[in-house]
Each structure stands twice: as C-alpha cells, then as structure tokens.
C-alpha cells in the first residue's frame, strides 16, 4: 500500500487540487465532446517561429544559456516592452527570462514573501495565484470583482480588502477567466493606493496583446510605479507558443536579483530552443499576432451573442479569449451546471468556482476554437437548457 502521502508537507497536503484537473479527467475519456475548456490558443505557433526553433536545433544551439536568458532575447524584450508598454528596462539586470509567466510569478512571490505576509489579488482569477501564495507560507487576500463592472478591479474594493500585512498586489489584465480589463483612470487610482500602502505590484499581462476594446495600459507605465512593479509577460497567448514554456519578468534590479537566485537554483535557465523562437516572435511575429487577435474578436462576438440569446447573460469580455456567462437562471450551481452539461450534451466548460469563490454562478467558455465547434456547443447548450426545470 502506498502511504507515501505522509511525507508530503502539511501546507501542500492541505492545498486543494485544481478543479480543472478533475474536469479534464472526465472530458479526456469522452468521445465527441466539444470542449470550450481549453485555456490556450487553437492556432499552431506561426511557422516562422517554429522554424527559428528548428534552426536552433540544426545549428546545434542546445546548451544552457545565461541564467537570466540570452542577451539577444533580453534586448528584444527590452525593446518590445518599451515600444508597446512604455517603461524601459535594462537588459543587463532588469529582465529575467523564465519558463512561462507562471514561473516568473512563482519566483517573484517566493523572492518577496516572508511567512505570514499577505497578498492581494482580484477574483475570479487564474487558478494558480492563491496556491502560489499559500506555497510561500503567505496568505492570499482575494478582492471580489463583479460582472456588472465587467470584472474590472474597483479601487474602492481594493481599499476595503486591504489589511495590515499586505505586501504584494497581483494584477492580471486582461483577466483569465473573465476578460476584465482596467482603464487608465482605474489603474491610476490603484497605483495611488499601491504607493500609499507601499505595495509591490505583480502585473501579469500575459493576455495584453489580446485586448479588443481600447488600448491596453500597463500599470508599470504610470508615474511612480516602475520602481514598485514587476511586469510579467510571456509568449504563450499572443504568439500561440504555450508548449514552448517561455515568459519573462521586467522590474527593478533589486527584485529581479532576488528572483534570479530562485530561478538559477531551481530552473537554471529557460530552454535555449524556446528562447531562439521567442526572439523571432518579437522580431517578426506581430503580423500573425494581429491576425489571431482579429479572429478571436470575431469569435468572441459570436459566442457572447449566443450565450445572451440562450438566456445566459454574458458581458462582452474586453480581452483574452474567454466568455464568462452567468448561469444562475438554470437553478444550478457552477459545478453542477458544468457536470450535467458535460454528461448530458458532452460540452465541456469550466465551472466558475475553479477560479475562486467569486466565480460562483458563472462558467468559463473559451472561444479559442473553430466557429463550427462554437456553433455546435451553442446548439447542445440550448438542448440542455430545454431539459432544465428552472428554464421551463
């Protein structure tokens, strides 16, 4: 009998498993399921980027790199961030290339949190934020965001959630799973509050290129924020490079140095092949990125309209590739709705509660898939709704 679980540390043993995993286990065994549960682009990495990776292999560029990442990539990142987001970072000591943006956030939290510190973040949010904080023996402090506000972070709610001991504020705009964004005025208020309370801001901007309405503003570009913000980004979403596992952090040298220690002992460096591909993405990937963004926008318009037609109220997400419809009219909670929809009509959506308590009454449906599948999912959801007593 395997009783090795007794070796697992207490704070890990008590950590809940991601709700998405359970769902994945069911869906993966199901034939002809239509999955709107996929949190990654349905596009394959543009060929010129894949070719750069092939060239790296061909030339035998298969070694370790500098712990911070190749200088060539850091220079490209520096140029890219300055051009599209504003702040300028020195490639020598203010940029760290990581294994996806997830590693960057993890390294940042581990580099800055002492046991007992508190971390503010807005919910519903990406599944790893609260667990990553818990793994640092720190305390996650969620701030609720609401659909009436299109899931933007209300500065008043931030102020209300703050408590003594809060050290870091994690922001993610556009937001997975809600598509929430923050305009300049809201960010300015948030920035003012961060300065007032001396918070370090971790700004996960992985979906920033996929902003459909208005311009994306990075909080790092606001006055007084560069020195207290770590800008976190990666290639997975904008350039459809999820499997390359490549991301980066830009911030003041002191914090980046702390992150570097964790990265160099734990990871060593990101894959050189992925780094070579990333250079190509930054140099020449903009056109394909814009093409993909346009496609997502068209699909978003369709799926959001369908949910609203079906009587599942859905706000128009201003970024990312997820619709987040309200399913309370079905009389079911998120988990039951998702499970029954899957069992009855083989459509996979992710229950909103997988993204925190604030996701109750919602589900996440990715529109990063073909029109045909979105259409088919809509028909199946309509059939499912017809069978529900609350909807008759």
């Amino acid at each position: 009998m395997d009783d090795s679980a007794r070796f697992v540390a207490q704070h890990v043993a008590t950590l809940p498993k991601s709700g998405i995993r359970d769902f994945f286990a069911i869906v993966s065994k199901m034939k002809d399921a239509v999955s709107l549960g996929i949190g990654e682009p349905d596009f394959i990495t543009p060929f010129h980027i894949r070719e750069a990776a092939m060239t790296a292999l061909e030339k035998g560029r298969t070694s370790y790199t500098d712990n911070r990442g190749t200088l060539a990539l850091r220079e490209e990142i520096s140029r890219y961030v300055a051009r599209h987001y504003g702040p300028e970072y020195n490639p020598e000591d203010e940029i760290l290339v990581t294994v996806g943006v997830s590693e960057a956030l993890d390294a940042l939290l581990r580099a800055t949190l002492n046991p007992g510190d508190k971390v503010l973040y807005h919910e519903p949010c990406y599944v790893s934020y609260a667990p990553s904080v818990t793994l640092c023996h720190a305390t996650p402090v969620p701030i609720r965001t609401v659909s009436s506000d299109q899931f933007a972070l209300d500065p008043a709610a931030l102020r209300a959630a703050w408590q003594p001991g809060c050290k870091v504020l994690v922001l993610n705009f556009p937001t997975n799973p809600t598509g929430g964004t923050a305009n300049r005025q809201k960010l300015e208020e948030i920035a003012k509050f961060a300065i007032e309370k001396d918070l370090l801001v971790a700004s996960d901007e992985i979906y920033s290129e996929l902003t459909f309405e208005g311009d994306h503003v990075s909080i790092a570009s606001l006055p007084g924020m560069r020195e207290r913000t770590v800008f976190l980004h990666g290639f997975s979403k904008a350039f459809a490079m999820t499997g390359f596992r490549i991301g980066y952090a830009c911030g003041p040298a002191g914090v980046i140095d702390g992150m570097l220690k964790i990265h160099q002992y734990g990871i060593m460096c990101a894959s050189i092949i992925s780094q070579e591909a990333a250079v190509e993405a930054l140099k020449n990937g903009r056109e394909s990125m814009l093409h993909m963004r346009d496609k997502y926008r068209e699909r978003r318009d369709f799926i959001v309209r369908r949910f609203n037609e079906l009587g599942l109220p859905c706000h128009l997400p201003r970024g990312a590739f997820y619709a987040f419809p309200n399913i309370t009219s079905t009389g079911l909670d998120s988990m039951t709705f998702a499970s029954q929809l899957l069992a009855a009509q083989k459509v996979a959506v992710v229950p909103g509660t997988a993204f925190g308590a604030a996701g109750a009454g919602f589900c996440r449906a990715s529109f990063s898939t073909s029109y045909e599948r979105i259409h088919e999912a809509g028909e199946r959801i309509a059939r499912f709704l017809d069978t529900l007593p609350a909807r008759k």
């Binding site: 998405i20 994945f24 996929i38 949190g39 599944v127 073909s370 029109y371 045909e372 259409h375």
Partner: protein
Amino acid sequence: MNNVLKLLLEGEPLDTAQIGKILNLGAEAVDRELASLRAQGILLGMRAVLNPSYEAERRVRAVIEIKIRTEGTGGFDGIAERISQFEQVESCYLMSGGYDLLVVVTADNLYKVAGFVHERLARIEGVQGTSTHFFLRAYKKDGFVVTDEGTRRDQPSVSP
C-alpha cells in the same frame, strides 16, 4: 470584405444555417447574400477540397506551359479563351516570363493528358510549343496542409 465571403474563405465546413447564426443573419439572408455574390460574378462556385491522395487514385493532374505566337491569330485572349473551353482544363492563366499560358489539366490517366496535348493543344493556331509537367504528390492544397498528422494530439481538452 463581405462577411459571408470571409467566412467561406476561412474554409470551415459551415452550412448556410450555421453561417447565419455566426453572422447573426437569418439563413435566408445568407442565401440572398450568396446569390448576390454569384450574380455579381464574385463567387464563381464552391467545391469540396479533396485530399489529393484520394483524388490521385482516380485522376492525374498536369500543368502545361504553353508558348504562343500572336501574329495572325486571335492574340493571347483569343487563344486562352479557346483553351479554357476544354473540359480537361481546370484553370488557365496568362503568365509573365519564359512562356505565355499556364494551364492546369486533369484527366483519367496519363495517356489522356498526352492525347489532349498533341491532339488538341498542338493543333491550335498560334500554339508554338508546350511543356507538360505531371503532379506527383501534394503537400498543401487550397490552404490545407495535407501531410499534417494532427500536431495537437497531446493537447489536454481542458486546461487552465
């Protein structure tokens, strides 16, 4: 570009009812739109794209470069229009460079293509010479990569 046309060109197998739903038009409106595109001569037709390996068991395809002498003939247009009439001809283009017309033909077998070249093309007044190349294998056709064997097999069906 017209939205209906844009969707058609993306190549997803959608029927008019599906297109109607996606574009928030009724199926009738899509039909009207398609009819109007046809009437304007923009949409010439729609046909299924078959995997070339399936097609190849039944048909051979060749591309023929044709050199033309225009003096005393109908000029490029006259000859090209005449060649385009043959049912074997899939497409026909006037080209810049070392030859004048590029013609794609399909036939049941190699001999029928050969017959078409020397019995039909070569007899046309103004055709000075031809050079025929047979298609051996297709790797990409009409935007579809043929040899791509499900590159995303390992993708999880639900992910964060």
